[in-house]
Amino acid sequence: MNIEGQIRDILARITRVDKDIITRESTFKEIKADSLDVVQALVAVEETFGIEIPDEEAQKFQNFGDFVCYVENRVAQKEKV
C-alpha cells in the first residue's frame, strides 16, 4: 500500500470514520478529528514511517493532502540519506 493509503488507514482507525470519506481535500474538522485524534495520528504515522513531524509543521496542515505531502517528502528525504 502506498503512503497515502497507509495514512488514510491510520486516520480512519483512530477517528472511527469510513476511510472512503477521507479525500485529499478533507480537513481534520470535516472528518470530525479532534486534537487528540490528530496527535494520535501523528504519533502513529511517525512510528510507521520512522520519521519525526515537529508540532510547528503539523500545525500548518490545512487538510489530509498536506499531511500526506509532508510525510511523502520526509520519507523520500530519509530514503536518499
Binding site: 472511527r16 479532534d34 486534537s35 487528540l36 496527535v39 494520535q40 501523528l42 504519533v43 508540532d55
Partner: protein, 343 residues
C-alpha cells in the same frame, strides 16, 4: 492480576492540587490494608523524601517508581503524548499496560489521565474514548448516568458504549439484572433531540440492549430508567447542577426562616443530614472520583482538590474495581456486540 494476593496500584504521585504531600499521605493510608501494594510514580528524590515522613507498618507495600517529569496545571493534556511521554501519569499507565500494576490512580489533570489511558493502556475493542459513570444517589438509587464529562462532543456510536458501560455498572454495583436504558433528550419521540441524539436513538434501538427510548429531564429522578445515556457536556452540566441543589435549597430555606430561629436551626440540621442525597456516587459509597470505563485496565481519577482521606478512598475503590472484574465484564459485554457487528 494480583501478585501475592495484593492488588498493585500505580499512583500518579505528582497529580493533584496538593501533590505530592497529600497523595503520598493518602497512599500510605491506603497501604495500611494488607491486600494492596502501591507504586508512587514521580521524581524519585522528591517522593522518597516525602515517604520518609511515614513509618510503613505492614512490610514494603509502598514503592517509589521514578518518572522525571509531570504534567503541570497550565500544560495541555496532549503533552502526555508528544512532549512528556515519561511524565508520572504516563509511566503509571505504562505500568498497567505492561502488567506491572493492576490499576492506575491519578488526582491530576483528568484529561492527561484519560489521554495516558487511551495512548498507553489502550481502549477495549469497539471503544473510541473512555466514559465516566455515576449513580444518582438517594433520590434515584437505581439510576446511573453516563457520560459525566469525559466526552464533550460525541459520535453516535459512543452512546452505545455509554449504554454498555452504564449497564455493566448497574449490574455490578446496583445489582440490577437487566437494566433499563434510556437516552436523555428533549422529548420522548424518536425525532426529538439534536443530530447526535437522533442518530444515537437509532443505534440504541437496534442494539439488542434493554433500550426503552428517550426520557426527558423530568424523568431523571423517577426511576423510569436505570441507565441514562447522554453526552459528556450534558452529563457534566447536569452533575454539577444536581450536586449544587442541596446547598442552594438550604440557603433559600434558611433565608425564608430568618425570623424563626428554632425552625431555621432545624432546617440547617435537616439539610446537613439529608442533602448529601444529591451527591453523585461512583462505584461505591466511599468513592473518591470515578473509573474511566472502556479502558483496557482499571483507571481511577479523582478531584484535583482531594486530600489524603479522599486519595486513600479512591485507591481503595480502584482496588475494589480490580477485584470486581469491571474491565473483564465490560470486555465480555462489548464482545457480544463486536461479534454481532453491532458496535
Amino acid at each position: 492480576m494480583a501478585r501475592n494476593g495484593k492488588i498493585r496500584v500505580a499512583v500518579d504521585a505528582m497529580g493533584g492540587d496538593y501533590a505530592p504531600e497529600e497523595v503520598v499521605k493518602g497512599a500510605v493510608f491506603a497501604a495500611e490494608k494488607e491486600d494492596v501494594q502501591i507504586f508512587l510514580v514521580g521524581p524519585a528524590a522528591i517522593l522518597e523524601k516525602e515517604l520518609a515522613k511515614y513509618r510503613i507498618t505492614n512490610g514494603s507495600t509502598v514503592h517509589v517508581v521514578g518518572a522525571s517529569e509531570f504534567i503541570k496545571e497550565n500544560e495541555s493534556p496532549v503533552d502526555v503524548i508528544r512532549r512528556k511521554p515519561d511524565c508520572s501519569v504516563a509511566v503509571a499507565a505504562k505500568m498497567v499496560k505492561s502488567g506491572e500494576a493492576d490499576a492506575l490512580f491519578s488526582a491530576g489533570s483528568s484529561g492527561a489521565a484519560a489521554i495516558s489511558a487511551i495512548q498507553y493502556i489502550g481502549m477495549l475493542n469497539g471503544v473510541y474514548r473512555p466514559a465516566l459513570v455515576g449513580s444518582l444517589g438517594s433520590f434515584a438509587s437505581n439510576t446511573v448516568m453516563v457520560d459525566l464529562g469525559a466526552n464533550v462532543d460525541c459520535k453516535p456510536h459512543q452512546f452505545l458504549v455509554f449504554a454498555i458501560a452504564g449497564s455493566v455498572y448497574a449490574k455490578k454495583f446496583l445489582n440490577i439484572a437487566d437494566p433499563k436504558i434510556a437516552l436523555l433528550s428533549t422529548g420522548s419521540e424518536e425525532t426529538k433531540g439534536n443530530e447526535a441524539v437522533r442518530e444515537a436513538y437509532s443505534v440504541l434501538k437496534n442494539s439488542g440492549l434493554n433500550f426503552i427510548g428517550n426520557i426527558e429531564g423530568g424523568d431523571i429522578l423517577n426511576g423510569k430508567a436505570n441507565v441514562i445515556v447522554c453526552d459528556g457536556f450534558v452529563g457534566n452540566v447536569l452533575l454539577k447542577f444536581y450536586e449544587s441543589i442541596g446547598g442552594h435549597a438550604q440557603v433559600w430555606t434558611e433565608r425564608k426562616l430568618k425570623k424563626y430561629p428554632p425552625l431555621r436551626a432545624l432546617a440547617r440540621l435537616l439539610f446537613k443530614r439529608l442533602f448529601p442525597a444529591t451527591r453523585i456516587r461512583k462505584e461505591t459509597e466511599r468513592q473518591g472520583g470515578g473509573i474511566l470505563w472502556g479502558v483496557n485496565g482499571v483507571v481511577k481519577i479523582a478531584h484535583g482538590a482531594s486530600r489524603a482521606p479522599q486519595i486513600a478512598n479512591a485507591i481503595e475503590s480502584a482496588k475494589e474495581a480490580v477485584k470486581a472484574g469491571v474491565v473483564e465484564s465490560m470486555k465480555m459485554e462489548l464482545e457480544k456486540f463486536n461479534r454481532g457487528g453491532k458496535s
